[in-house]
Subunit: 373 residues, 2 copies
């Protein structure tokens, strides 16, 4: 970077960013380790560390109290201060809002949930979301100005700019510009996506899809929807509408989910319990649901030939009661057997994926030096 | 690359490769331009050029005869010798084999086609393919030892290693290891893929999908199949089976294509002509065909939300007769309108994609220095 040579302030920022990036990626590190990792001089690393400690991004780690008495003074070690800020992950659904607050290292510090009526106005749904976000943030012990970024997983088709383009569930929700609306309430950058895609992000980050490259994610709840991971990245499609195969009449996902909801309403747990004790009505409900689910899933498995299918959403709590018939159905309909894993992230999956979205935003900011002066 | 410094022969090869890569990417270039592009010394570029000219990879370009008389001697210019070798692209179908031979710059030099009965043994189909490949190679004016790589687009599900895993059309075809079988006959590396995916490669290289990132490709011929371009790369899936949505009973693609074939046999041209002159049977055939095509296509458009749908294969010759009802059907079934383009590559699409596959192989070899000594 020859331009940097002529501008010592830019060069200093580049070096400080290099040190910060190294600390963020692991550690704690000694000064010598940082010199090796960043390939700049010892004096430069020392200056960068001083600046980062002063700004609250880094801290010295006290020597390990392991009982052994080292010969001479042990080398100082430094770490990234994950507690210097937080991100807020919001799951904005048709019936509830859920907020997860994590520190900058991704450790979850607080979870809060609240019910929202399906028919409230978009502005009231948004207000419920930002109020809950701040409630979770306070519970996690962070100040308002420590929120570095907000991630959102929202119901509906959400495009790359974070605008809701279509919502079948919520009239009036389409047109909502999530980053604009929520950015005002948090004073931080907001990244948003469709809830299913965001939950898939969580599965790939910390769930059963960790390490996988091509994944079909089925989100089964009040509605069924799908998400695709291709080459290790969530594939959103041109309008953010990838995975909306529930639209296809032959897949029958809308009918399937509706029938299920009408029969058992909110009390899906009761359905599963009844099915496990072989209640005829419950078994039949579940059978029809699985049939529809499998049909749409088969279309997508044939379309993308994934290495893994992940079953998530509220209904995934049924576990093998749902996964087993899905496995059988896919084996019959598809060319190759595909493993089906059940999500273990529970009700927080979408909000956790939103945390990941927010952390991506933080990393982009940090490493583009917007946060370092 | 600190290891290179200690090994002058390796270093020389690295530099020669850098010069070769630059020449391959454009040009002709002067010595000074090559020095600038490769960032090595003038003497090093001169040595590399001498070696490349000696080995037949590069040639000096005669000064432009543009009538102007430059002051002093014009600088020498060098170019990659695309004519120093060739690649063979093979389309191995159920009813025919088609071979395209191109030079190393991708310029098509010869095309040959031959009919193959559907019920011949796999070894006879392969023999027909390599014989035709050599026939086209001779017609293009290349010697057998000038074949640098072979690309194959074959009917059936073909995995990343080039082995046919499944073939519904051709009994006995599954299990064929295309690179092994054809490598013997050409004495060159062979890369193979499913014919639909390979045709999509051609559309992205030189067809209506050039520059696009997310594309659904519909290959409509004796069978209907589909291919996906995601993020500018052909998405093959775990077993190379992505796009096999024709398997789905509800999509009805097998029935659709079969009915079409039974009614009109090989003479699809006659069907289109009849439909254009409003022959009732032809119009009805086409209507039913479009309905099935649209259904499967809608499932895939909903699944991946592509920016473009490309209609290829033999039936794409029908043009808007097929594309218009497909456009209407997709508009009704999908969330967002998606443009539908008709392939312009004609009957050579698969073999042209196979040429691209082979060129990728050549580039890999060249730039990993296997070809430079």
């Amino acid at each position: 970077m020859t331009t940097a040579g002529g501008d010592s302030s830019l060069l200093r920022r580049l070096n400080t960013t290099a040190v910060l990036r190294t600390l963020y990626g692991g550690g704690p590190f000694t000064l010598s380790e940082l010199v090796r990792a960043t390939a700049v001089t010892r004096a430069t690393v020392e200056n960068a560390l001083a600046a980062l400690v002063r700004q609250g991004w880094a801290a010295e780690v006290p020597p390990a109290a392991d009982g052994r008495r080292p010969v001479g003074r042990p080398p100082r070690r430094y770490r990234f201060r994950a507690e210097s800020g937080c991100v807020v992950g919001l799951d904005i659904g048709a019936h509830k809002v859920l907020a997860v607050v994590a520190d900058l290292g991704g450790e979850v510090r607080a979870v809060r949930q609240t019910a929202v009526a399906r028919d409230v106005l978009p502005e009231d749904r948004l207000a419920a979301a930002w109020k809950l976000g701040h409630r979770a943030r306070r519970a996690a012990g962070f100040e308002a100005d420590q929120v570095r970024a907000v991630g959102v997983g929202a119901t509906g088709v959400v495009n790359a700019a974070g605008t809701v383009l279509v919502s079948e569930l919520l009239p009036g929700w389409a047109g909502t510009e999530l980053p604009v609306e929520l950015g005002k309430s948090f004073g931080a950058p907001v990244a948003a996506g469709n809830d299913t895609n965001v939950a898939l992000l969580a599965e790939h980050w910390r769930g059963v899809a960790a390490g996988a490259r091509d994944v079909l994610f089925l989100h089964a709840g009040h509605e069924i929807s799908a998400g695709l991971l291709i080459g290790g990245r969530v594939h959103q499609g041109r309008h953010g509408a990838a995975g909306e195969i529930g639209m296809l009449p032959a897949a029958g996902w809308s009918d399937t989910a509706r029938a299920m909801s009408e029969g058992w309403g909110e009390d899906i747990g009761a359905l599963f319990e009844a099915a496990r004790s072989r209640d005829a009505k419950a078994v039949e409900s579940l059978r029809r649901f699985c049939e529809g689910l499998t049909h749409g899933a088969a279309a997508m498995v044939l379309a993308v030939d994934p290495e893994l299918v992940v079953l998530g959403g509220g209904l995934s709590r049924a576990g093998d009661l749902l996964a087993d018939p899905l496995r059988r159905g896919l084996r019959e309909a598809c060319l190759f057997p595909v493993p089906v894993a059940v999500s273990e992230l529970g009700v927080e999956a979408v909000a956790l994926g939103a945390v990941r979205l927010a952390l991506d935003e933080v990393e982009r900011e940090l490493f583009e030096m917007a946060g370092v002066t």
